[in-house]
């Protein structure tokens, strides 16, 4: 199958591309960041997904499938830029899919879509709406992109769309929200709270995304691996030291003294759990994780000994 991957320069996307190549697929990548050292078989286009040259890729190469991974989770860019990439980019990808006869589209979203709050249930199902958005406006663009992708299910009936809400990933690449949060020697926590974190190994995440393609998945699915663990346990398993601080003090110290930069809204994500029910995805694809939670944390700890500085959480 000829597959286009917008956002291929991301570390998880690279793993997906490599896995698809191994599975005998033809992979075309679109990403302005480029991918130095990419496998020769991958056709790379160093262009912005929202610009004309990206549309040319669709027009000339006529892919059968797209795996959209060009969204930003971290608070690395200002709000306007994030909206441009997450919403504008997603819209452009769906328009190209519709205009150039793409048969299948996988939107790789995040489980943080559901939000974290004191009244939120454990094990969110796909039917639940996002919550606590008002408390964490920086997530709004990602939630909007997820909802926009989901409405393709009825808006573009000829396009088999799958929206994946993937939980945090962790592994030796150090890529992803949770990995960034755990990068430092000390892991800040809100004193008196220790939420469950749901995460899976990055290789398992790549396998799950590839499976969604190969099983021609259609619909909205949560993707998760082993059972969730409390944040303090993850920190210790990754050879870090949990640092519980009173919430007002933590809010003041964020981004300083080697602690990650967090917005006020993101604090809810280290107070309350976001845990998803991924049984529908397992039933639809037969997905089974290879790395348990302990091994996953260990592979991260081996690749990133506890000495660096943490960055962001989003």
């Amino acid at each position: 199958m000829r597959v286009v991957i917008p956002g291929i320069a991301g570390l998880l996307a690279r793993k997906v591309a490599t896995r698809l190549l191994a599975g005998g697929h033809e992979v075309i990548g679109i990403d302005p960041r480029g991918w130095p050292g990419a496998p020769k078989q991958i056709e790379l286009h160093q262009v912005d997904i929202r610009k004309r040259p990206a549309e040319e890729v669709f027009r000339k190469r006529r892919p059968q499938a797209v795996i959209h991974m060009a969204t930003m989770a971290a608070l690395l860019a200002d709000t306007e830029e994030r909206y441009r990439i997450n919403l504008g980019g997603t819209r452009a990808v769906f328009e190209h899919c519709s205009n150039y006869g793409v048969e299948q589209m996988i939107f790789v979203g995040r489980h943080t879509y559901y939000g974290a709050g004191p009244d939120a249930p454990l094990y969110h199902t796909e039917a639940e709406p996002p919550q606590e958005l008002g408390a964490y406006p920086e997530l709004a663009d990602l939630v909007a992109a997820d909802l926009y992708a989901a409405n393709a299910l009825w808006r573009l009936p000829k396009l088999a769309t799958a929206v994946l809400r993937v939980c945090y990933t962790l592994g030796p690449s150090g890529h992803g929200t949770l990995a960034s949060f755990l990068r430092g020697r000390m892991v800040p926590m809100v004193m008196g709270f220790d939420p469950l974190f749901h995460f899976l190994h990055e290789d398992d995440a790549a396998e799950a995304i590839a499976l969604a393609l190969e099983k021609k998945l259609r619909g909205i699915y949560n993707v998760a691996g082993p059972q969730p663990l409390p944040l303090s346990v993850i920190a210790r398993e990754a050879h870090r030291r949990p640092l519980p601080l009173p919430e007002p003090l933590l809010a003041m110290l964020l981004g300083r003294a080697g602690l990650p930069r967090l917005t006020r809204g993101a604090l809810a994500h280290i107070k309350y759990p976001i845990v998803v029910d991924a049984s529908s995805f397992r039933a639809a694809t037969g997905f089974a994780y290879k790395f348990d939670e302990l091994t996953t944390a260990q592979t991260f700890a081996d690749a990133f000994p506890a000495s660096g500085r943490a960055t962001t959480l989003a």
Partner: protein, 272 residues
């Protein structure tokens, strides 16, 4: 019972703990061991809780323990949980539906969730039953714990959600009566405004001001399981009839408990 025996009973809980002693809801063996050591003192020594009809609680599989609130704080839930842990064979973890404000309070949030007392949400209740757990429900809700001492033998209106859940998940309802909570914490008034300031629904006031329990005898009477047929989507009046049946069972158990309590108190005073 020593710490080792409590640890052994925690080991015997038939829950899917992983190698680190955590289950898929975040329940932790470590937290359970600590919590039950504290509960054992209250259950065995401080209150000397007397338990009757415990054989009515299924040893495994899904079930709902449904009972009355008695006492201004969650003493009733704690003692029911203790009875299922200390006196059932094999021990079971009864999982209550914690008031939503608890999850907002530092430390309480962690201890409630690590000991399996999840926030009272329909999603949690259904998931726990579908996972064949023992669910503890007080259909009187917060209005039940707010009962004053003079109303301690009464039952306030029951919610109906628990019955729809029982029907939907095909779970037996085990009624129970908790006796003596009103004497342990005799609430003479509830301060709702002060409670609001403290982030709780209300603050119960006792003759000695604080809601600290007296060491009075407490009793838990379990009744025979009630099974209801249906899907959970029945008309309100059908559900209400089932709820009234459960309420009547609990009221009968309370009366039985009161009579037994009078007998026990007489025996105790005669012995003195």
């Amino acid at each position: 019972m020593g710490a080792d025996e409590i640890a052994a009973r925690v080991e015997r809980l038939e829950l899917p703990f992983d190698a680190r002693g955590l289950d898929n809801f975040g329940i932790s063996k470590w937290h359970l061991r600590i919590a039950f050591r504290a509960l054992e003192f209250l259950y065995r020594s401080y209150f000397g809780v007397r338990c009757d009809g415990l054989a009515n609680v299924p040893p495994r599989g899904r079930a709902m323990l449904v009972g009355n609130h008695s006492g201004g704080v969650a003493l009733d839930a704690a003692m029911v949980i203790a009875s299922c842990f200390f006196d059932l064979e094999p021990p079971r973890l009864a999982q209550g539906m914690a008031e939503k404000f608890i999850n907002r309070i530092p430390i309480a949030s962690v201890w409630a969730s690590r000991t399996g007392q999840l926030t009272g949400l329909p999603e949690h209740a259904q998931r726990l039953l579908e996972d064949d757990r023992l669910l503890l429900v007080f259909p009187e809700g917060a209005r039940g714990t707010a009962k004053l001492w003079k109303d301690r033998w009464s039952l306030v209106d029951f919610g109906t959600g628990f019955m729809r859940l029982a029907l939907r998940t095909k779970s037996p309802v085990v009624p129970f009566a908790f006796i003596g909570g009103g004497d342990a914490i005799p609430t003479v008034s509830n301060l709702y405004q002060v409670g609001k300031l403290l982030g709780v629904p209300y603050l119960p006031v006792t003759p000695w001001l604080l809601p600290l329990p007296r060491p009075v005898k407490l009793e838990v009477h379990y009744g025979a399981p009630l099974r209801f047929e249906g899907t959970g989507s029945e008309e309100d009046d059908v559900i209400q009839r089932h709820v009234e049946q459960v309420k009547a069972s609990i009221a009968a158990l309370i009366e039985k408990g009161r009579a037994a309590r009078r007998g026990h108190l007489k025996e105790a005073s005669a012995a003195q």
